[in-house]
Symmetry: D2
Subunit: 449 residues, 4 copies
């Protein structure tokens, strides 16, 4: 069986390349880092091409933020933590933005309440873009000596994270609209045809040997604080499915009354299913001829592709499905250990740079182990709670309020999704969400002993 | 003591004149009515001049609606009830709008949920304006014979109601924004200076004789169904204060611990004060030098004017104040009976047409009875629950779902506010809101035996 | 057609007779009043015969109170307002009770939160009974000179009100219990057989002439402050149905999709029906053979009696039914005017004293006007909001917090129910509840022009 | 420094001895098991001596259950899973109890909603006790052959769990009562004097070596399914404090603004502190002379003992305190590994059998490692989320719905509390609660590398 990665032919867009995709053998590190930051920031602006001020202003639920807010908050991050303290003579763009665009940094000061982010019709989008230009220009004045490289790199990765959130938050907004608008970052571009429906491959199990394994970040490249310290974990032997669970599988789960069988569900999950009247993944809609879903595509609402990984499911759904299938979710440690044998290059094909999203389609990216769509298809829920690694310490100062304070109540996801920016995918990356949340591109891959 | 009505000098704006302000002795009624409808509709568009698509899209609370929604819903009203059934060959602008812009007409069909009106970033403002132009053009094709005059007139008054809501909903939105944007329907216009602070006049009582009184609508001019049937009510003798309660009075109430004295409050009101932590009218903010408030002005956040009528208070607050002052609220019947001696002309001065709002300032509009700021200053809470008049019947058909179905749990307000459109003020008009609501320009006038 | 009033034969119970039912021509007023108070208080204790400490402790919803609380609060009323200030040397039974058993008298001081009344497993029932005995003994020491007659009378009527609440709160509690326990104040008593099902009489209309009418309390007998001042109201001619709406009528309403037809409902009511998923009166349960209901009877859960007045309906339901029936609810003024021609004696038959409740059955109590079951069958919802009469002033002091502070958001009911104590029914009595509440014995009688 | 374990001298009570405390060398295992079951069940009844029917009926919050419900549900467990299927001719006591007293076994059938457990004033306590006697008698008829030993043992441990919940649920109920009733299982018993206040020992660190460690249940004695399978875990070296954090420590945390310093808190915890206005552990009350707390003692509300372990804290508070102290919480694996060197005998002194609770006082129970109050003082929050061990499978059938379905969102606690029944404490025991819950006797012990 053969898959195509790209799904839909997309017109070319000149977006920023990620840091480590560069050949920077002959560049000065500072210059290179600055270029990568500016490229990344240019990509953020490219993401809202074709969107209106209103599209970028509305907040469709408290978990989501307006696109305008993402654009401003990532810029505030550079202003607050880099430019104001480190660039002599830097003029703050607008003092009110310190209050408006702080996300959750208690040590920085009070901030606009999160659920009210969508009430800020002013400043308009164009003023936010002017704020971005002001900060970009100032960043270019940062000298090699003054520039705090680690903060610049953190700012770059922080902005990449928000790029993914910007896309998933927009998807949530558009999915609430009965008109089902299609997101398109490239005005006037004609999308190619949708891929044809195919039957998925049967599940095959790929085996991995256990033993004492080193887990966590261990090289000189960037990683968030929550990926460290590297530490030892004991693993028993295990196996992973060669592909994520796909839409065709999920239709079987629904047809077998999966959503109505309490024995399949965790108690919290069963309560959630009952209270929220959950009957299918988010964004699925029944039409006369079966389920449709709204994807982040030029095509808008479309029939389900049977072979595409199921997405927009909660941890509770992933866990119930695995139980129904007689399997389980992998731990984040099993996942990371397996990832060492999957060539990361498959996550950064040339076409990644071309468009801000792609259909999460199965691809012929089988590694030596034969694990397909391992990188950047869907975020895969794991069986692991999001907790500190042994010896974890957050970074000093305000930026320490980054990952550590969320270490309760959430579950780890691994792998990266179709909306994850190029260069933001790596084996040790720990994404985390509450078990009921499902507006990200979240799916699962089965595991067993 | 002398007051100026206009408050702030405003540049001239060519807004629609209301129906009955015209001299239409030599016009055909149909032509005249159609012109009045189109004038009114032009005024709606003028109200959003200078606002962005985003300003017109966001919904700041479930009680409020986006400006775009007001513009579209009033247009849908003409399309649904007049054009589609009565104009041969009329082409519906967009079939989806029937679902999107129905407000609460159960008999018309399902509709977009009210709390989600603010999620509709699409259709954009310009498409709503195209919808309006499409409907306006079609209205002009209505012949004398086909045109249902009573529905046209209802549509006109319906649109006027939404003009006021559009303004107060915008005020609520802007008041949530820490930047305190100023509403300005006239881009580039320079506002005049704010009026000087003055001490208010002491309260004087104006007496009215009781007896059997006819209440309700009784002439050929337009009125809503809830203003009929005209019926008899017995009134004892009573007196009204010559002016509304003003900000200076309210500061005394606050200083005397009015918000912390349970004996002054209705039980429901006391619970509301406690649960919502109410300490002042809506939009009041404490600064170093006292309260400021956001008015619907070019000036944005401004110090309180002592002589201006207090506004943005709930029925509970109005009732508590009256008890504190040793007085009471008038009934809607006392108010209407008194209104017969107040020249309505004072409500429609020339400058009313010039701007969509004005400061609710006391004016030298003393009628024969000496009641000041009686028309169109602030909506005055009455002691009357909003109930049907004896023999009330709603209009047949879908438009019957207009006023009758809201006849529980709400209180009547009388008089009209500074945001009420010209021509939409009359002695028998019954406005109604829930006792806790206060985002309208709501105030009070004291009564006593 | 003939009805029996009593419904079910009940064993005799020696309960207190109400004040005005006595022939007191040769007694001293003070002695008589004191006896009436003590008789009434003895009846309260009789009401909980056969109930356990647990039955009297639990609070089944925030609107309800435990029986123990009713017994203690009514006793606190005498201690706080009469004994402590007026009986020299009176010893407070337990100082903690002042906090525990104050209901809502803000001027008396802080109090135990209402929703937590059901957490007081201590003091036990027997200690509450000891508190009652302590207060009863002290009341007997009140001399003619010291005794504040008006407060004693208020305490008596206050206690009667709580007797009715005690019964309806117990009914609510027992109705939540899947075992459907039967309330029985007389342990060991064998209830008689249930009445046979009968078809109700068709509705007949009884006409009343309008005109200027005096409304409100006007004689020397006791009345609450909210029944005054007597004042004039204009009434148009009107007619009332000869009997309340009964269960058979209501089954027709249900069969005609009354609960699923939005045009029949007030907007608030329609939201309530949707949110609470209301499909029938409270306590109705579907069984294989139709609806059953839990009545306050020895019989427990029983099949509906077609001829019995429908009860446990909200104002919203009463209003929707009246609209469906092409009629309306009477105003409280129409009801009171009509009541003048209904012999009150029909409300106080001898058997009233015999049992704390009775089935609300239609009775052959037709007055000269032929209005049946007018007194004490079910509380009849009126179209009138609960508002102050012109010139209303609450009593001075803490007892002024009695009726006035609830004058918002509620609707008036008239007539008295099968759970209303003997002697607590009169033409000017104004009962009031929120429009969604239905745990009282609430029904309706149709009116029309 | 020297501590006394017992805290307060208590009169002797003949309570059941736990299973493994018996010398059963010469008994038949079935006889012995049956005796242990009956002894345990007798202890449940002893726990409610001195409590009223009302005390045993009320539910003070949805997380808690009435004592009567605990007594009935544990009995239902034996009837449903053992007697009905295994004892020929067994007569079900009351078929309605199957619905009333099922807790959460979805496979058994529908059940009374948890938040309404407190509305069941009927059946009364005495009927529940009759139900218990009926089941106890039937258990004694179980023959050696028919008796399912593993289910009997499960029923015994299930009942022990509910004994602890019964006590903590009662504590919660009594703590809501302004009268602060004291729990006393022994009517008429005079409690001894409260221990004297002492300064706590300074913290000392006890070191443990890491390495590959076997975790989980591994012998023939009873354990719940969630304690298996035994599996390997890698541990780094670590140290534990010799004693739990005590009240004196916590007062320092409060004095240092611990509850008002966001940097100390997890984001979820900080939100909880703000929304619930948390300023101290549960049941602490400020008096003129400092904090008091309600303990499960004969003494009622008492001043804090500085040397007693802090208790009734949430995981969020435990975590924040550890961060404030420059330490961390231990993982459940560190805790279990350390426990192997703590003599379990210290958890079952003779006096454990004497009373259903004891003050959680520090005791001179230093093991070879010098860890004090390790067993049965307070449940110690760990840093571990409650998740399945590798290879976990719940038991087949309905009893499989025991521990597995709660494996999300909760944190593990280890050690047992002063309310844990004798014999219910073991090294591999995993208790679990949501991070905000604190009505159990929950505390913490610090850890560090």
């Amino acid at each position: 069986m053969s898959f195509t990665l790209e799904g839909v032919a997309m017109p070319t867009l000149d977006l920023a390349l990620p840091l480590h995709a560069h050949d920077h053998s002959h560049e000065h590190p500072h210059d290179h880092l600055l270029q990568a930051v500016l490229h990344t920031r240019a990509r953020s602006v490219a993401l809202v091409q074709g969107l209106s001020d209103a599209d970028c202003t509305v907040q469709s639920m408290p978990d989501a933020s307006p696109a305008k807010w993402h654009l401003a908050h990532t810029t505030w991050f550079f202003e607050e933590f880099i430019l104001a303290p480190h660039l002599p003579g830097y003029r703050v763009f607008d003092p009110a933005f310190r209050y408006l665009f702080n996300s959750y940094y208690e040590t920085v000061g009070p901030r606009h309440p999160r659920p009210q982010r969508g009430l800020l019709t002013r400043p308009p989008l164009e003023q936010i873009l002017a704020f971005r230009a002001h900060v970009d220009a100032a960043l270019q004045r940062l000298t090699r000596e003054a520039a705090p490289a680690s903060l610049l790199e953190l700012g770059l990765h922080h902005e990449q994270q928000h790029q993914e959130l910007l896309l998933t938050d927009l998807l949530h907004l558009f999915a609430q609209n009965p008109l089902h608008p299609a997101y398109c970052a490239m005005p006037g571009a004609a999308p190619g045809p949708m891929p044809a429906a195919q039957n998925p491959e049967p599940v095959r199990w790929v085996s991995f040997s256990g033993g004492l394994t080193d887990i966590g970040h261990a090289d000189e490249r960037f990683a968030f604080d929550n990926e460290s310290p590297r530490h030892r974990v004991w693993l028993d032997d295990y196996a992973l499915a060669q592909r994520p669970v796909c839409n065709a599988d999920w239709l079987d789960f629904i047809a077998d009354d999966g959503y109505a069988t309490p024995a399949l569900w965790l108690a919290d999950g069963w309560r959630w299913v009952q209270e929220q009247n959950i009957r299918a993944p988010a964004y699925w809609q029944t039409h006369g001829d079966g389920f449709h879903t709204q994807t982040m595509s030029l095509h808008g609402l479309q029939p389900l592709l049977p072979q595409a990984p199921v997405t927009h499911i909660s941890f509770y759904e992933a866990d119930a499905y695995a139980r129904w299938a007689g399997a389980r979710l992998p731990t984040e440690f099993e996942w990371e250990a397996a990832s060492r044998r999957q060539p990361l290059s498959s996550a950064t094909p040339a076409q990644f740079a071309d468009h801000p999203w792609r259909l999460p389609l199965p691809a012929d990216d089988a590694a030596t182990d034969g694990l397909q769509t391992f990188w950047g298809g869907v975020w895969e829920w794991t069986a692991s709670a999001y907790l500190p690694y042994p010896g974890f310490h957050p970074a000093p100062g305000a930026v320490g309020e980054y990952n550590g304070k969320f270490m309760s109540g959430q579950m780890v996801l691994r792998g990266g999704s179709c909306a994850t920016p190029p260069g933001h995918i790596r084996p040790t990356y720990r994404n985390f969400f509450y078990p009921h949340q499902r507006w990200q591109f979240t799916g699962l891959r089965l595991a067993r002993a």
